[in-house]
């Protein structure tokens, strides 16, 4: 495939899951296993296509859009069907397909009540198109459609296959994120009219920027900020997250943490920063402060959790804080850091949720005290995996989690676009506090490990037989486990791909 002409490949890869999901919905519900295999097949084929795209992607020109499809879509409002991929999109796009494939594989065996694999997998495939589309849409309207498309299947995933408080969690998730995104839509419209260019194209608008008065930039950025910040989620917009994560089925949590949250930060980087550079500059210190509060706050909340899934959910608040800190730095390194942190968090926390889900499968409880420790004795492989992933999540160098955090702090100490002149002290303080956050992070993860892994298992588990890691789990987890190490040891895998694209993007920030 020639990256200059093969736009079709991207389109096919993007819509194959949606079409496949539709096809899945038409299969008779009685064909339980066949449906699950079909889902694996669909996600597998899409993933193969994405691998082909990645393989033929011209890494020498990762700053430019490749696999472009740009045709008129809604003439009345100048919206275009504009899909493409560049160095910033590619890693996230890849991750989306990988995670969904793994989820499909995982669902071959594991599906929470009430079962119904057909509906579940069809929703998951629909979700996949929505998520992936967000990362390759270069038209604001198209982006918004994909963005919103994600809400519906996730709402159902949480609402039907979720835990005891699924009703509350699903509606809260839906409304909270919807609330943000409508403001975002208003801001998009404002941008459209303010630019006067009759276009929703992100690259074109970026090239036009900055336009409008400072007031306009501030307000428009505020609207976009609300939409993205809720999705990220930034403190104090995070409260939907623990509920949604806790109640969602395993696959839902994995995709939620692995991809959905990334959409917010991606949006900041792809849309908010280049199109509204002045607004972004004004907001950057605020974002930085909120991000750091999120880091400390998320970690503190983690320490107070008794529910393992909820703990992991709160840890996302902290980790995404680092990502946002990178964005707040407003320089190339910061954006590199944010994107890397994004990806690493997706992989690691996705994996953590897989583990938490399987833990629930085994113990039928998520309460840390009830589990009571001794997992290394009871389920040794599982215990080792948990240690590995937890250690990765607390940002150990050499594993994926480190680079995002370290680089974000490194970026924040010398923020770009003139922020260094007026806010040097603030940013230094942010870095110090963020670094303290890593201690807290280590604290709660070690404490978690101590309470779950170490010691002797309590009586109540000694009678029943608990299965250690199953083959299907190995298969669906192995890629993530490998990636955690690979990204940690060879960060160029991501940094290198993004470099040119990020440099381009920072060019739009000026300053």
């Amino acid at each position: 495939m020639d990256p200059n002409t093969a736009g079709w490949a991207l389109v096919v890869a993007l819509f194959l899951p949606l079409v496949g999901g539709g096809a899945l919905a038409l299969m008779p519900a009685a064909l339980d296993q066949q449906i699950r295999r079909a889902a694996v097949l669909i996600t597998g084929v899409s993933f193969a296509l994405v691998i082909a795209i990645t393989a033929t992607f011209d890494f020498g020109r990762s700053g430019e859009l490749q696999f472009v499809t740009d045709v008129p879509w809604i003439a009345a409002i100048d919206a275009r069907f504009f899909l493409a991929i560049d160095g910033i999109s590619l890693p996230l796009f890849f991750l989306t397909y990988l995670l969904t494939l793994l989820c499909a594989i995982y669902s071959l065996k594991v599906l929470p009540p009430p079962g119904k694999p057909k509906a579940f997998l069809a929703l998951m495939l629909m979700l996949q198109t929505g998520m992936a589309g967000t990362f390759v849409a270069f038209d604001l309207i198209l982006f918004f459609i994909f963005w919103e498309l994600v809400l519906v299947p996730m709402f159902f995933m949480i609402g039907i296959w979720g835990g005891p408080r699924r009703d509350y969690a699903s509606v809260k998730f839906f409304l909270y994120t919807l609330f943000g995104s409508v403001f975002m839509l208003v801001a998009f419209l404002a941008i459209y009219f303010q630019s006067g260019a009759q276009t929703w194209s992100i690259p074109e608008l970026s090239a036009l920027a900055p336009f409008g008065s400072t007031t306009f930039q501030t307000w428009a950025f505020l609207g976009i900020f609300l939409g993205f910040a809720i999705k990220v989620p930034m403190w104090p917009f995070h409260t939907w997250l623990p509920d949604a994560h806790t109640e969602a089925p395993t696959v839902g949590s994995v995709l939620l943490a692995g991809v959905l949250l990334k959409m917010g930060t991606y949006g900041f980087i792809r849309i908010a920063l280049p199109i509204l550079p002045e607004g972004a500059t004004r907001f950057a210190p605020i974002i930085g402060v909120l991000a750091v509060i999120g880091i400390i706050y998320g970690s503190l909340c983690c320490l107070a959790q008794t529910d393992i899934k909820r703990l992991i959910a709160f840890s996302s608040v902290g980790h995404m804080g680092f990502v946002m800190l990178g964005i707040a730095a407003m320089n190339a390194t910061g954006i590199q850091a944010a994107l890397f942190g994004n990806l690493a968090h997706g992989i690691i926390t996705g994996m953590l949720f897989f583990l938490a889900g399987s833990l629930h499968e085994r113990y039928h409880t998520r309460d840390i005290a009830t589990i009571g420790g001794g997992m290394l004795k009871l389920l040794p492989r599982y215990g080792v995996l948990l240690t590995y992933v937890a250690v990765a999540s607390l940002g150990l160098p050499g594993l994926a989690g480190f680079w995002g955090e370290f680089t974000a702090m490194w970026a924040a100490i010398s923020p770009g676009v003139g922020l260094a002149d007026s806010y040097q002290g603030l940013y230094l303080a942010l870095v110090v506090v963020a670094a303290l956050g890593t201690v807290l992070t280590a604290g709660y993860f070690l404490w978690l490990l101590q309470r779950v892994n170490l010691g002797d298992p309590p009586e109540r588990w000694s009678s029943g037989h608990l299965d250690d890691v199953m083959t299907i789990e190995w298969v669906s987890w192995a890629p993530l486990l490998v990636l955690i190490l690979a990204l940690g040891v060879y960060p160029r895998l991501v940094f290198g791909v993004q470099d040119a694209a990020v440099t381009n993007l920072v060019g739009f920030l000026g300053g």
Binding site: G159, D167, S170, L178, V182
Partner: protein, 489 residues
Amino acid sequence: MAIDWLAIAPEVALTVTALLVLAADLALRGDAKQLVNPLAMIGTVVAIVFAVVLWAEAPRVAFEGQYVVDSFAVAFKLLFLGTLLAILAISARYFAEGRYFQGEYYFLLLTAFIGMLLMPSARDLLVLFIALETVSVPAFVMVGMRKRDLYSSEAALKFFLIGVLSAALMLFGMSMVYGFTGTTRLEGIAQALAGDAGSVPLLLGSVMLVIVGFGFKISAVPFHFWAPDTYAGSPLPVAAMLAVASKAAGFAGLLTIAFVAFEPVADVWAPVLGVLAILTMTLGNLVALQQRDLIRLLAYSSIAQAGYMLIPFGLARPGAEVVNQAAVRAVLFYLIAYAVMNVGAFAVAIGVNRRTGERSIRDYAGLGTRSPLLALAMTVFLLSLGGAPLTVGLWAKFAIIEAVAVEVTVFGLVMASFLVVNSVIAFFYYLRVIREIWFEPAAAEAPRLQPALSLSVVVVVLMVGTILLGVLPGLVADPTVVTTFATGG
């Protein structure tokens, strides 16, 4: 005076059909009476064909400019006729099984739609009035169709009393307007208003009275009280007709009178209608939150939707061509979207609960297993009403915000923010129904549902339409871009 028959061909077709239906009803006996439904459908299709032909022929002016068939009017006519077709389809089994007066029902229905077809073409206060009454009077009767039903007769009474009261208020306003301007022609009124007459307080008050008559039709606050009670008491297809077609007709009339006749004093009525928009959508949504009866919920939801559609009126300014056109287009697009999704929702309601009394949301528990098709369709319609992506509902709201953004004003932004906040509130109750459908188990005795074929077809078509327009809103948005008012004469 030669009559331009083509210009009124759709109306004529419907009139003939109505008469044929009445005759057939007299001639047929027993189950054979069911044949009137296909008969009415055929007539409707013929009317649609005429309307499509007119689309190419527009604009045409008839009756010395009192009757204008422009692209705006044709668009509305197509909307009405399409809605009629759908309502006919969902009525078939409802009335056949219910042992109602089928012939009369179809006759009245067709008559009401004749009135609607007249509405967007009217360029004279008198014609507007006639059109309005032609819609209203048959509707009064249809609401009370289930004669032995306490709910039905109560609904009819309320509808009737509020209807005639507002008609009288409107007429009084019309008479005053006539008194000040000396003409009942809309263009004439506009000319007079553009002059000195535009600042006479009494005249401005009268203008408001005229608008009130349409406020009743579109069930804007505070003229909305009849709507929930009436929807709940009437036969469901009639409720669908009232919620969609009748409301659309009200908007057609309101658009015509506001943007043709009263355009020079837009600076006076626009803020008022804007405030009404805010009140209407907020009240509609808030009260909808409390509803346990699905039909009442849909009623309040449709009140809220009317509130959204009033927003573009709040943007109007005298002489601001671009803004006003964008406003008209936004309303038109919203109405089309609204018709698709709301008829769909009522269709599903007909499929799920055909009987009277309270139609609790609880009845929808486990619909996902009882009838996946209806459940899926209802989900799509409700999401669309809320404005979820990949449904036409999103573009409808988008169109309104876009109209606001054409020329940003503080008031426009206030209205837009109310729209935004209200959209979120609305999801609370839409999601409640969706939750009931999918998350709750079906009651033990609840049977699987076997919706009638015609109903299923309508539901599927509308669902596909909702999604198709959600993906490609251009299918409707692009043609409607050219809709404009043609001046008479």
